[in-house]
């Protein structure tokens, strides 16, 4: 199991645990993290699971061209730490992951 801390725009923090194969978007949905929408269910079609990965994301493969393209058009500002949560698939035993949830997705 991995632990993810979602820092919400309100300042509140939510802790989620999820196993390998689950994406940061799915883990957020399963734990009812507000601010992660995931309209398309994870097929990188909608850009509504934008997250800023502050810590522990080194184990994720870097974003591909398609994801980088989608990120340019997310509702909140693009930063170096921006990822689509649906494309960040958890592996076995990753270090603690801390992500900031943007204040808007749509």
């Amino acid at each position: 199991m991995n632990t993810i801390i979602y820092k919400l725009a309100s300042g509140q923090e939510m802790r989620a645990s999820a196993g390998a194969g689950v994406s940061l978007m799915q883990a957020a949905i399963q734990h009812g993290v507000p601010g992660v929408v995931g309209e398309c269910g994870g097929s990188a079609s909608c850009g509504t699971c934008h997250l800023y990965i502050e810590q522990g994301g080194d184990g994720f493969p870097p974003p591909d061209e398609m994801e980088l393209g989608m990120l340019e058009f997310t509702a909140a500002a693009l930063k170096a730490e921006s990822r689509l949560g649906c494309q960040c698939i958890l592996q076995e035993e990753m270090p603690l992951i801390i992500v900031q949830v943007p204040d808007t997705q749509v």
Partner: protein, 422 residues
């Protein structure tokens, strides 16, 4: 308001979204979702893709886990509503239960249209809309696989569901034939360019297409299951499994029976309110006026379910928000990602950017020199950009789009068009 009971009839994507949005907006009264499907509200898009291929398990389909619903104090009631007493504001369920509402949101969705042709009731003929449909279809495929035949699968209708299933069936090793009565695929949904590209893609994977061809009936084969399909030209195609993908029908019968105005969907105003002030309708089952279609538009899509779910929550709580979201859709077929935004059916002119030969292009569709719709095949950036443009009422010119050196990101930033504030 916060002591009221809001009942949502239907636990699909739209119904669940309405419930979640009511809570997000601070409604603390009672929220009940009545659903006639077993289990938690689930995602439908994977049913014709990863779920059928076994890449996604049933548990992965849930839109929200049970504890999130409990935490949000959203009651999920299993049952079939059989009547609405509008005067008493009461719903009666098949088990006799009566539930009183202050506001009712109908989100009963749609179902796959079945064709009234001879033999259509033979085992082995399916539609695909719900998880139960997908489970039946998956069991049908498993039966064929067990028998070890290279059994031919036939798809009636060359629309999105049919083509998504064609990709799944060929990936699972079945020979696959699509019969479409139109002269091309996706006639009402996509431009000839995109449809032609997709046909070629599926043909390369072994799918055979019979266009401008109609099914006349189904004939029994082994063990009383479907064995072949008769066409109107008199010929016959072998088919040991048939998927009928010829569109959807709004589940509006209960609304119609209770006297609400219906016309291929429950008629609602731009605020998604029916002819009864206390009743709203959203998602696949609702027909609402839209700036792009003032006479009424009924959409069957996740994007619309979410938009209308959010909007209706605000309106039930007293706001008067008007439905004007830009429609968007997507379809995944094998490795092809198709994204669409806007409504392009009436478009007269189009420009292609990208490389059709390499399977990465977008078709920009124009009507009266205004951009109306964009279809992107494996070009998600174009899709996202076009969504922004259409939402902000921006339109590039045909000439700009036809110029490969024009930078689309410059649109809305030039001195000619003032930048949008914020």
């Amino acid at each position: 308001m916060n002591r009221q009971h809001i009942i949502i009839l239907g636990g699909g994507q739209a119904g669940l979204q309405a419930a979640l949005s009511l809570r997000e907006l601070g409604f603390s009264g009672t929220v009940s979702i009545i659903t006639n499907e077993p289990g938690l509200p689930y995602q439908r898009p994977p049913l014709s893709k990863g779920y059928l291929l076994g890449k996604m398990r049933a548990g992965d389909l849930a839109l929200r886990p049970a504890d999130v619903l409990a935490q949000q104090n959203i009651a999920l009631i299993a049952g079939e509503a059989i009547s609405i007493d509008r005067r008493a504001r009461q719903l009666t369920l098949a088990d006799g239960q009566r539930l009183t509402y202050d506001r009712l949101i109908i989100a009963t969705g749609s179902r796959g249209r079945m064709c009234p042709l001879p033999g259509a009731d033979l085992p082995g003929i399916y539609t695909l809309r719900s998880k139960a449909d997908a489970d039946a279809l998956g069991a049908g495929l498993a039966l064929l696989a067990q028998a070890g035949h290279k059994a031919p699968v036939l798809i009636m209708g060359g629309g999105f569901i049919g083509l998504e299933f064609a990709a799944v069936a060929t990936e699972s090793g079945f020979a696959c034939t699509v019969v479409e009565r139109g002269t091309r695929l996706l006639e009402r949904a996509l431009s000839p360019e995109s449809a032609g590209y997709l046909q070629q893609y599926h043909e390369q994977r072994g799918v055979r297409f019979h266009l401008a061809t109609q099914v006349a009936g189904f004939c029994a084969g082994e063990q009383g299951r479907v064995g072949s399909v008769r066409l109107t030209d008199g010929s016959t195609l072998a088919a040991q499994l048939v998927l009928v993908g010829i569109g959807g029908i709004a589940n509006d019968e209960l609304a119609a029976a209770s006297g609400l105005a219906c016309d291929n969907g429950i008629r609602v105003n731009a605020c998604l309110q029916t002819s009864d002030d206390a009743i709203f309708a959203i998602g696949d089952c609702a027909r609402a006026p839209h700036p792009l279609a003032p006479a009424g538009l009924r959409l069957e899509s996740v994007g619309n379910a979410i938009d209308q779910g959010r909007l209706v929550a605000a309106n039930v709580l007293g706001e008067g928000k008007v439905w004007q979201a830009t429609p968007w859709f997507w379809s995944d077929q094998g490795r092809e990602k198709i994204q669409m935004v806007g409504l392009g059916a009436a478009c007269e002119q189009s420009v292609i950017r990208g490389e059709v030969g390499q399977g990465r292009f977008s078709v920009f569709c124009f009507q009266n020199e205004q951009l109306r719709a964009v279809e992107s095949i494996n070009r998600p950036v174009d899709h996202m950009m076009a969504r922004k443009w259409l939402e902000q009422g921006l339109s590039p010119t045909l000439e700009q789009l036809a110029d490969p050196n024009w930078d689309p990101k410059s649109l809305g930033k030039s001195s000619a068009t003032p930048p949008v504030p914020g």
